[in-house]
Amino acid sequence: MRYLRLLALFFRTELQYELEYRTNLALEIVQIVVIITTSVGAVLILFNYTTVLNGWDLGAMLVLLGCFYLVQGFGELVLQPSFEKFMEHVRLGTLDFALLKPASAQFLVTLRNFQVVQLGQMGLGAVVAIVGLGRISTLGPGEAVAFAVALVCGFVLIYALLLALSTFAFWFVRIDNLMAIYWSFLDAGRFPVDIYPGWLRVTLSTAVPVGVAVTLPAQAISGRLDLFGLAVLVVGSIAAFILSSLFWRVGLRSYTGASA
């Protein structure tokens, strides 16, 4: 409860700050709109030649693309700014301040900074998903719940991945190259994970789970994710979260010299 209040407070302070730079805000929104419309355009071009792609029709594809921007937007809303700040803290030695607070350091560091304008990306992603949804079957309450659960799992997976990658900063300080793995693979989320050849599909589902983080929510909302799949996703996400948090703690212990 206290953490939720803190989160709201972090968000509010950043919002205040971003509102001061209206031109920037407007330009960023324009960029988001351009990027998303061109991506929708790309999907439309593909579907100019087919009505179905590996079992995904146009409606389902739009839902998927919407989920992609929901997940990516979430990453850019809070994770990217926070993790970048985290690496800066390690570099400058200001991480100490977060460790001295009577609250979870992991929370204070990894959910601390927001790029509020990225809510626009999530919003637009939601619009694309809703448009896609309008083209396919009706949405039952079961699908809606499954979707919400799967989407949260997607967020958690992305969070766990970034947390694990950024933990290396405790040892190597400069890890921009490692983080680039995330950014380049994330792009693959714009298509269903099952269209990729074996090695890439395996990577996108396990080591760098950006593929499943997007594909499974999209399947859930169009009623194509069974209960078993959802259960696996939930368990997998929780496991990923716990494992990455443990890894972070190991990194932190090494940073404070506990294991040296």
Binding site: A42, I45, I195
Partner: protein
């Protein structure tokens, strides 16, 4: 001039050797995006019984492998660097030197490409085998590919500089280059071979310069166009390079005057 370039090359090669690992990693990641669209088109082709218009699955593979190669050879991110230099006030000392800043960028680009070309070819070879790519190129195509990719690279480079020059007028180069990048995304052959762009889009793509940066060299290397068409396309590339060269001259001169006028 040759001596100057030799000196610049030595400096850049030394600098690049420090970032060797980094460059190779970035290059590897840059291959992922073409693979994403290749996979999508393979899925479309499979849904349509193995081919889309004139392209079958193996043609798509050849096209995107070629496009990856061309994209890497014809990419320059001077806009970001340049904006940074203008903003940090680092451009002024460079303007004082008796050498146009563009020469640094030329050398930087060439060196970067030299350091990444071999690992790139290895990775692309791997992709080509995975997707069973089939190139239809004849030896004549291969000969024509050389001037085509050089012109494509020059065009991308000059275009990037024109965009970068906007830093003289606005601090929001980022927004401008996003628009430019998205135009490249749509029209340069990234999301689809130019021949597969539907109706009006294809016409627009043939009129705009973007396709001549990447798509045209890629199609020549793949062997998708016949030799006379290829030569015609190369001629258009040359015209575009000339236009952008002239444009850059004008924009640069006006821009520097503006920049030094406000006193930075």
């Amino acid at each position: 001039m040759i001596d100057v370039y030799r000196a610049l090359f030595v400096g850049q090669i030394q600098a690049a050797s420090q970032y060797r690992v980094q460059s190779v990693l970035w290059m590897l990641f840059s291959v992922i995006r073409p693979v994403i669209f290749l996979a999508a088109w393979v899925a479309v082709a499979n849904a349509q019984g193995g081919r889309v218009a004139s392209y079958d699955v193996r043609d798509f593979a050849a096209y995107y492998v070629a496009l990856s190669l061309v994209s890497n050879l014809a990419t320059s991110w001077n806009a970001y660097d340049f904006e940074f230099e203008v903003r940090m006030g680092r451009l002024s000392p460079k303007l004082l030197r008796p050498l146009h800043p563009i020469h640094y960028a030329v050398v930087e680009n060439i060196v970067w490409k030299m350091t990444t070309i071999i690992p790139l070819l290895i990775v692309l070879g791997f992709v080509a085998v995975t997707f069973d790519a089939r190139f239809r190129a004849t030896p004549v195509h291969l000969v024509l590919f050389v001037p085509s990719v050089i012109l494509g690279g020059s065009l991308a480079f000059l275009g990037g500089w024109v965009i970068a020059t906007s830093a003289f007028w606005t601090t929001r180069v980022h927004a401008v280059s996003t628009l430019w990048d998205r135009a490249v995304f749509i029209f340069a052959g990234q999301i689809a071979p130019l021949a597969l762009l539907p109706g009006a889009l294809q016409t627009i793509a043939l009129v705009l310069p973007f396709g001549y940066m990447r798509g045209v060299p890629a199609e020549i290397l793949q062997g998708a166009v016949d030799v006379p068409t290829a030569m015609l396309l190369i001629a258009v590339q040359a015209i575009w390079v000339a236009i952008f060269y002239a444009l850059l001259q004008v924009v640069w001169r006006v821009g520097v005057r503006q920049y030094t006028g406000v006193g930075a």
